[in-house]
């Protein structure tokens, strides 16, 4: 019996390793496939934007809204109010994908977009998104916006040193570039521009009420047999 014991131990470990390896592989591979399907869903038509996209809402939502916005644009701030209530108004039905489209005419827009992306690297994109839109009037014309941004970072609990370094990083800059390339490929020229399940919302409907009606229409359309 003792003679076979070491071989039994070795056999158990070999089997355990193969099983554990297979289970880890399967679990991770399923996540990779899911992420790749989500990336495809977030990039309907046109060129792919930054991956992973900043998204809010369930992955399997019936309706996906893709928003191209500029943090310094006042109509975008108005739409942001709608965005924050999406969970309440349409629970479990929507997925919102946010794309950066800072306009050159707004002096602090690009830095604000970089700030939101840098916050995203610490998992707080949506906190910075909220901070920037809710306090838009406070910083829009600020001459020293960088220090205002540092202050916001502090308020939402970011590691400010890292935030400062990430602001100028290649990773953050390239996300803006990728979103811009996607916007160009989809023909976006102004903000806010929303696509609901890949269909652009007409210019005349680009108001909170207009967007709400378009979203409701898309949800109703999904319900229809």
């Amino acid at each position: 019996m003792r003679r076979f014991l070491p071989y039994a131990i070795i056999a158990v470990v070999l089997l355990g390793t193969a099983t554990a390896g297979t289970l880890v592989y399967r679990a991770k591979h399923a996540r990779v496939l899911e992420a790749s399907a989500r990336t495809a869903a977030d990039n309907v038509g046109g060129k792919a934007g930054a991956v992973p996209a900043h998204a809010h809402g369930p992955d399997n939502a019936a309706v996906t809204i893709e928003e191209f916005a500029d943090f310094q644009c006042p109509p975008c701030a108005a739409v942001a109010g709608l965005v924050y209530n999406l969970d309440k108004d349409f629970p479990g039905k929507l997925r919102l994908v946010f794309r950066q489209y800072p306009l050159d005419m707004h002096k602090n827009a690009r830095l604000a977009a970089l700030g939101a992306e840098a916050a995203g690297l610490q998992g707080k994109f949506w906190d910075m998104h909220k901070q920037l839109f809710l306090k838009q009037q406070e910083w829009s014309k600020a001459d020293d916006f960088r220090s205002v941004l540092d202050n916001y970072a502090k308020q939402i609990g970011l590691a400010v040193d890292r935030f400062g370094k990430d602001l100028d990083s290649e990773k953050v800059v390239s996300r803006l570039k990728q979103d811009r390339e996607r916007a160009t490929s989809l023909g976006v020229t102004s903000t806010p521009t929303l696509f609901i399940n890949g269909q652009a919302v007409p210019a005349e409907a680009r108001t909170p009420d207009g967007f709400r009606a378009a979203i409701q229409k898309a949800i109703d359309g999904k319900k229809a047999p």
């Binding site: 070491p6 390793t17 390896g21 991770k28």
Partner: protein, 163 residues
């Protein structure tokens, strides 16, 4: 001519007079086997992650993706971690057999651990001086290999006992 007698201190730790491994040797090789098991789990996780295509995220402040995504983390199409799996498996089998008194297993364990030690030194050099980034899974594996190397030095191979 007088027959050369084995060093009693060394004999005590490796085998009893009856040729069976001493209690100390069983304990030491069992510890070695447990260390290789931990290394095997680490390397298996990294291999499965690599093959699945998912980016491994590190615990602590280390930056895994820079290390595991570099060209140094692969040999041809195969992830380096897969070679780690093979090395830890060989070391595990040798450690188990050594704990049960198989004399040749000790030599195999020593050769395997020596190779792993040298590979670990190279990989630490790559992380510190070429990539300037560390991967905590790799550092864990390095720590386990150093511990294994220490054990192999504590328990000498049979040739030194039987000389």
């Amino acid at each position: 001519m007088a027959k050369k007698r084995p060093n009693p201190q060394t004999t005590k730790i490796t085998e009893t007079a009856a040729g069976r491994p001493s209690r100390a040797a069983v304990i030491v090789y069992s510890i070695a086997a447990l260390l290789t098991l931990a290394g095997l789990a680490d390397a298996t996780y990294l291999t499965a992650s690599h093959l699945s295509g998912e980016t491994v995220t590190c615990f602590g402040t280390a930056n895994c993706s820079e290390v595991l995504g570099s060209s140094y983390a692969k040999i041809g199409p195969a992830p380096l971690a897969a070679f780690g799996v093979a090395a830890y498996l060989v070391a595990f089998i040798a450690a188990v057999l050594a704990a049960f008194g198989e004399p040749r297993a000790r030599s195999v364990l020593m050769v395997a651990v020596a190779a792993m030690f040298l590979a670990t030194l190279w990989l630490l050099y790559v992380q510190a001086f070429i990539l300037h980034a560390y991967c905590s899974y790799c550092l864990l594996s390095a720590a386990l290999t150093f511990a294994l190397a220490g054990i192999v030095i504590v328990v000498p191979p049979p040739s030194r006992v039987d000389a």
